[in-house]
C-alpha cells in the first residue's frame, strides 16, 4: 500500500503556556514521528513517542532560550539528546519551532538527508548541538558545555540533557554525574527518561540501575521525580531547575521522569518491543487514528 502522509504546516512559538496548551503540540510531534518512521521503514518509535510531552514543554514552554533566526547565538541555552536514537522527536520539535522546513521530516534516515538516523553535527542542521548515538556521550558533552558557560565564560546559559534509563548502565554516565557534582554544575538539567524499557526487556531485568533517586542523590545531585506525561509536573520541574540555578545551589538538577514507551499509540504503550521498530503502513494508520488524525491518501 502506498503511504504518502501529509504533514501539517503548523509551527509553534516558544512562550510561557498553560498546561492545557501543550497537548496539541505533543500530538503534532507524535504524528510527525509516526509518519516519518513509517516512511523511513526503520527507527525508534517507542522512546520518541515517550518523550514527546517533555520536549513539548522544553521547546515550546519558554524554557529553552534559542532562536531559529540566530541558532548559533553564543549565549543560547542548549539541549543535548544523549539518547540519540530518539532523534525523530527532536527533529520534529526543531522543525515546528522553525529551525528548518517541515519538508525535511519525511526525509528521515534517507540517503543524503540532513535528518540522519542519529543526530549528526556535521549535517549543519540548526538546533543540533552535538552528534549523539553512542549511549552515554551526550551527558558528558552536556557537562562540558555546563562547565564552559559557568566556569569559563561566566555566562548564564541553561544546559539541558536527556538520557534514557537503559543508557544509565553505561559507566561514562556516572563519571559525568560525579564530575557535574564535583564542579557544582547547578546550571545542568539532566532529564532521565525512566520508561523501564530497553532493547532486551525491562531495565530491571537487563541490568538493574535502581534505586535511582538515591544513587543520584548520593552522587551530589538534586533529584525530583515526576510523571513525564503531566505538563504541570514537567513545568514545575523545569521551574525548580531554574530556581536551583539562580540560587546557586551548587548541585546539578536531575529530573527522573516516569514515562511510557510508545505513549499515545495504544498498541505500543509500555511495550519494549517498540524500542527500535517503525510502524508499517497499516500500523501507522491505526497510530495516526489514536493521535486524532484520519489518514487519507
Amino acid at each position: 500500500m502506498n503511504f504518502s502522509p501529509k504533514y501539517s504546516e503548523k509551527v509553534f512559538e516558544n512562550k510561557k503556556r498553560n498546561a492545557d496548551e501543550f497537548g496539541e503540540i505533543a500530538l503534532e510531534l507524535r504524528r510527525d514521528i509516526i509518519k516519518s518512521l513509517a516512511l523511513a521503514k526503520s527507527g525508534h518509535s517507542g522512546g520518541s513517542l515517550g518523550i514527546a510531552d517533555i520536549l513539548s514543554v522544553l521547546y515550546f514552554g519558554g524554557y529553552l532560550n534559542i532562536d531559529p533566526l540566530d541558532s548559533k547565538n553564543s549565549l543560547r541555552d542548549k539541549f543535548v539528546l544523549s539518547a540519540g536514537h530518539l532523534a525523530p522527536v527532536l527533529y520534529s520539535a526543531l522543525a515546528r519551532r522553525g529551525f528548518f522546513p517541515i519538508d525535511y521530516l519525511p526525509t528521515l534516515r534517507k540517503l543524503g538527508s540532513k535528518l540522519q538516523g542519529h543526530p549528526g553535527y556535521d549535517m549543519n542542521l540548526p538546533g543540533i548541538e552535538s552528534s549523539t548515538g553512542s549511549l552515554g556521550h551526550g551527558i558528558s558533552i552536556a557537562v562540558g558545555m555546563a562547565m564552559a558557560t559557568k566556569l569559563i565564560d561566566k555566562t548564564k546559559q541553561k544546559i539541558f540533557c536527556l538520557t534514557g534509563d537503559g543508557e544509565l548502565q553505561e559507566g561514562l554516565v556516572w563519571e559525568a554525574a560525579m564530575c557535574a557534582a564535583n564542579y557544582k554544575m547547578d546550571n545542568l538539567c539532566w532529564i532521565v527518561d525512566n520508561n523501564d524499557c530497553q532493547i532486551d526487556g525491562r531495565v530491571k531485568d537487563v541490568m538493574s540501575i535502581y534505586p535511582l533517586k538515591e544513587k543520584f542523590e548520593s552522587f551530589g545531585c538534586n533529584v525530583i521525580e515526576i510523571d513525564g506525561h503531566n505538563y504541570d509536573e514537567i513545568m514545575s520541574a523545569f521551574d525548580k531547575y531554574i530556581e536551583n540555578m539562580e540560587n546557586n545551589s551548587g548541585k546539578p538538577m536531575v529530573i527522573i521522569a516516569q514515562t511510557f514507551m510508545g505513549k499515545g499509540v495504544s498498541y505500543m504503550e509500555d511495550k519494549y518491543e517498540w524500542h527500535g521498530n517503525p510502524p508499517n503502513v497499516e500500523q501507522a494508520i491505526i497510530a495516526l487514528k489514536d493521535l486524532g488524525e484520519e489518514y487519507s491518501n
Partner: protein, 336 residues
C-alpha cells in the same frame, strides 16, 4: 571461469549465532555475555538454548569486556557481542590490556559492522575497527565473507586459545562457500584461477570481487585471481606474496576505511616481500551516512564496479613497468 553456486543469502550475524550454539553444545565452559542487543547480534540463539550460561551485562561494553577477561582467567570461554561501533571502540582500552595483554581467552563478536548497517547512520557504521584491532598484539581478527564462513570462524575462534574478534554484518549477503569448504585461521582461500591481477578482499566485498572478476573476464578476457582474506590476523603471507609474484598487481577491497584495514595489511606483506602496484577499494577517509545498504555501497564506491576499475588501473600500471611515480606531480593519495 569458475561458476559459483549461490545458496541464497543470509546475514553473517546468523552464522555467528549458530556457531555459538554449536560451541555451547560441545563445551560446557563456553559462556555468553549480552549487551542489550542479543536479538540483533544473534546471541539470543545461545541465550534461549543455554540460559544458565548467558549473562546480561546491560549497555556496558567496557564492563562486559573486562568481566569477560575475568571469566577467561577463571577457565571459561566467554563471548561478548555488541555492535562493532561499541564493541571495539568504547572498550578499546579493555581489549588492549585486560584481554590482549592478559592473553585472556575472550572472544568478541562485533556485529552490525560497516556501512551496510544502513539507516542508523554514521554513528553506527563502524569502519575503523580493523585498523584499530589488527595493531593489538596477541589478538586474532577474522572478517568472514558469508554465513557459512561466519559459522565456521566462530567455532574456530572458540576452539583456539587466546583473544579473538570476529567482525560481521547486519544485512543478508550471498552465500557462496559451502559446508564442505575448509576454514582455517591464518589461511586465505583462492576462489578463482588467474594470473593477471589479484583481488584480495574480506567480508561482503569478497562477493563483489567475484562479480568484478566475472565482468573482467566477460568484457576484457582478463583472468583475475580472487582471494578471500578473512583471516586479517594472523595474515597469510604465503598466499599474498605468491599472488604478488604471479599476478604482478593487486587490488584490495573491504567495507572499511582505506587507511589501516585489509588493504594496509596486504600492503605490508607485499612491500616487505615483493612490491607490486596496488589499488585500494574501501571508504575514502570519511564517515558514512543514513541510507539503505545497497544504496550506500553504490554511494560510497563499495561495489564490483570500483573493483573492476581498480583492476584495470593496476594492470595498466603493471604493464607500464610501474616501480613508483616518475614525477612528484604524479603522486596519488589513498583517497584519490
Amino acid at each position: 571461469m569458475k561458476e559459483f553456486k549461490l545458496l541464497g543469502s543470509k546475514p553473517t550475524r546468523h552464522g555467528f549465532g549458530m556457531g555459538l550454539v554449536e560451541l555451547g553444545e560441545r563445551y560446557d565452559n563456553v559462556v555468553v555475555l549480552g549487551g542489550d542487543i542479543t536479538g540483533s547480534v544473534m546471541t539470543s540463539f545461545f541465550r534461549d538454548k543455554f540460559p544458565e550460561r548467558f549473562f546480561s551485562i546491560g549497555i556496558a561494553e567496557q564492563n562486559a569486556t573486562t568481566i569477560a577477561a575475568g571469566l577467561a582467567l577463571s577457565g571459561k570461554i566467554p563471548f561478548f557481542s555488541s555492535y562493532s561501533a561499541f564493541a571495539a571502540f568504547r572498550n578499546a582500552d579493555q581489549i588492549r590490556i585486560s584481554m590482549c595483554y592478559n592473553e585472556a581467552n575472550v572472544k568478541i563478536g562485533g556485529g552490525h559492522s560497516g556501512i551496510t548497517v544502513g539507516p542508523d547512520g554514521a554513528t553506527h557504521q563502524s569502519l575503523e575497527e580493523v585498523s584499530l584491532l589488527r595493531a593489538m598484539p596477541n589478538l586474532t581478527l577474522i572478517v568472514p565473507a558469508d554465513y557459512e564462513e561466519s559459522r565456521k570462524a566462530t567455532i574456530a575462534i572458540g576452539e583456539m586459545h587466546g583473544p579473538a574478534y570476529l567482525r560481521f554484518g547486519r544485512s543478508p549477503v550471498p552465500m557462496f562457500t559451502s559446508v564442505e569448504d575448509s576454514f582455517e585461521i591464518g589461511k586465505a582461500t583462492q576462489l578463482t584461477e588467474g594470473n593477471e591481477v589479484a583481488i584480495i578482499a574480506c567480508g561482503l566485498m569478497v562477493w563483489e570481487a567475484v562479480l568484478a572478476a566475472q565482468e573482467l573476464y566477460k568484457r576484457k578476457g582478463i583472468k583475475a585471481r580472487v582471494i578471500n582474506n578473512s583471516s586479517i590476523k594472523p595474515i597469510d603471507y604465503e598466499t599474498i606474496t605468491k599472488a604478488a609474484m604471479e599476478c604482478g598487481c593487486i587490488v584490495t577491497a573491504e567495507e572499511h576505511q582505506v587507511h589501516g584495514g585489509l588493504g594496509s595489511a596486504v600492503a605490508e606483506v607485499v612491500v616487505k616481500n615483493f612490491p607490486v602496484p596496488m589499488e585500494f577499494v574501501g571508504m575514502k577517509d570519511r564517515f558514512g551516512g543514513s541510507g539503505e545498504p545497497e544504496e550506500l555501497m553504490v554511494h560510497f564506491g563499495l561495489t564490483w564496479k570500483e573493483i573492476y576499475a581498480s583492476a584495470l588501473k593496476s594492470i595498466e600500471r603493471k604493464e607500464k613497468g610501474f616501480i613508483g611515480v616518475r614525477k612528484l606531480t604524479e603522486i596519488e593519495s589513498m583517497i584519490d
